[in-house]
């Protein structure tokens, strides 16, 4: 075992892992984090805490992770290279690890132009792959990116993202290979709506044996309404929502659309768990955390293993 991470242990024991996420509040309201995390208690193995998602300022991921940790739950520290240079990232990683946070997700992040501070400087000292390399070097070599020794190096279980639906498609497996080579331990994918394309990507992943080197958690997000489906389809970069899906949701009356969305989500999980190489699920119920327990139960992923 490389780390103390519960997620690592769940995966190592051969269980399908379940993670979910919590978007921190836009203000100093820690009780919001507690409310959201409490809903997930017992239903997921670890909780991702987003880092200024969509480039909108929120409570820092580190602070919100700490609150979750203090509740006796397992946070996953998300960090983007957009806002911090390598000094700031490494100091936050040591800080987080000092508080027992041992799992993280290394991302480049959405461009500032999407958020509430489009005028902000855009850092990108590192890209996500160099970021993974840095965290691995900190863990396995006990060295900072700059080469100096670290006292009690942080042992992070290292996550990364993959978007099988972005272009160019044929580059998406090589890109995953690069993340594996850089040292990522697990992957959380972009939300899967286009199951066929996802399976095609997984085929490529298996052909290269990458699924044996990295644990892939398929991302799923339940749709609340046809409006959300259309928004995801047209407005979110790198999201692939097939027309049939939009049609299916629009085919049911408005007050039944949320239920239809949950149903689709559960069906997706049931389908994907049979795909060789899928090691778990990352359920991103955006501002809809209360539905996660139901999804986990209905998908047959409950109870969670005791580790």
């Amino acid at each position: 075992m490389k780390t103390e991470s519960v997620l690592e242990k769940v995966l190592a024991a051969g269980h399908l892992a379940v993670t979910s996420e919590c978007g921190p509040p836009r203000g100093a309201v820690p009780e919001k984090i507690r409310e959201k995390a409490d809903i997930l208690r017992g239903y997921v193995d670890a909780i991702n805490v987003t880092d200024n998602q969509t480039a909108v300022v929120r409570m820092s991921s580190f602070a919100a992770c700490l609150i979750i940790k203090q509740m006796g739950l397992e946070p996953i520290l998300q960090m983007v290279t957009r806002d911090r240079n390598r000094l700031a990232m490494q100091s936050d990683i040591i800080g987080a690890y000092s508080h027992g946070i041992n799992t993280m997700l290394c991302l480049s992040g959405d461009h500032p132009c999407f958020g509430d501070h489009p005028m902000a400087a855009n850092v990108y000292d590192l890209d996500s792959i160099q970021f993974i390399q840095m965290v691995r070097k900190m863990r396995d070599e006990g060295k900072f990116q700059g080469g100096d020794d670290i006292l009690n190096p942080p042992k992070m279980f290292i996550g990364a993202a993959a978007n099988p639906f972005a272009d160019p498609f044929e580059l998406r497996v090589p890109r995953l290979a690069k993340k594996v080579k850089a040292g990522a331990d697990f992957i959380q994918t972009q939300c899967v709506y286009n199951v066929e394309k996802f399976e095609k990507w997984m085929e490529g992943v298996r052909e290269r044996g990458l699924h044996e080197k990295i644990s892939i958690l398929a991302g799923v997000t339940p749709m609340k309404s046809v409006g959300m489906a259309r928004y995801m389809k047209n407005k979110v970069p790198g999201m692939d929502v097939p027309d049939e899906l939009v049609k299916r949701i629009s085919g049911v009356p408005k007050d039944k659309q949320a239920e239809e969305g949950i149903k689709i989500c559960v069906e997706t999980i049931e389908h994907l768990r049979e795909v060789d190489g899928v090691r778990g699920f990352h359920i991103m119920a955006i501002e809809w955390e209360q539905k996660v327990p139901e999804i986990v139960e209905r998908a047959g992923l409950y109870p969670r293993p005791k580790i």
Partner: protein, 221 residues
């Protein structure tokens, strides 16, 4: 080349409001090519400024001169005979030219008439696009001759990010995804395998992050 765009007329007028005699200086290099501050633009701006003053019932005396290269002290000397006849200088060169003039004439206010934009190339008539950030350690040899530092919105060296869609960048469907271009180019060169070599974290010291830069060529100095 260095590209520039003329500032809004009102901003330029604001600078020179207190004065009645100005020297308007163009440059015959990059800003001429990108039609921002060459001889022609000097003439146009001169008329526009004089007209604006006239509307206010004032007179503006404009001396016009377009230097061969405003970033070169040797050419800036050509302003010496004119400088005493004016209250202020308005430069239509890039920021380098403006600063050379300011350095040479310590007692004269100097104002920029253009916004210096980027190092770029002409895509077609009237369109220029960024190509180089001057990072000081060229990576074009690894990326098929397309620069991710200048042309990827997140300057990713191991891209593309998850926002690349139909060849376009997530920030704007008008912007090409640099990594799509790089991938296509690597493929047409038959070297797409090289994509899988990880490009290590960049040493930004050679870029602006290391402080203002200087080149000293002992053999020429």
């Amino acid at each position: 080349m260095i590209t520039a765009e003329r500032k809004p007329l009102d901003e330029i007028i604001d600078y020179i409001k207190p004065f009645s005699r100005i020297l308007l200086v163009g440059c015959n290099e990059c800003v001429t090519v990108c039609a921002a501050g060459g001889r022609k633009e000097v003439g146009l701006l001169s008329s526009a400024l004089q007209m604006a003053f006239m509307k206010e019932g004032k007179v503006l005396d404009v001396k016009e001169l377009t230097l061969e290269r405003q970033c070169d002290p040797e050419y800036v000397e050509e302003l010496v005979p004119l400088i005493d006849q004016v209250d202020a200088v308005v430069s239509m060169a890039c920021g380098c030219g403006v600063q050379e003039v300011a350095k040479r004439f310590k007692e004269k206010p100097v104002f920029p008439a253009v916004n210096t934009k980027f190092m770029g190339a002409s895509e077609r008539q009237g369109v220029w696009a960024e190509r180089c950030q001057g990072c000081g350690d060229c990576v074009l040899g690894m990326t098929g001759g397309i620069c991710p530092v200048a042309r990827c919105s997140k300057r990713l060296l191991n891209g593309p990010c998850g926002g690349s869609s139909n060849g376009k960048c997530e920030i704007n469907p008008e912007v090409d995804c640099a990594w799509q271009l790089i991938w296509d180019r690597l493929k047409s060169l038959g070297i797409e395998k090289t994509y899988e070599e990880i490009v290590p974290a960049k040493d930004w010291r050679t870029s602006r992050d290391g402080g203002p830069r200087k080149i000293i060529r002992e053999d020429l100095a």
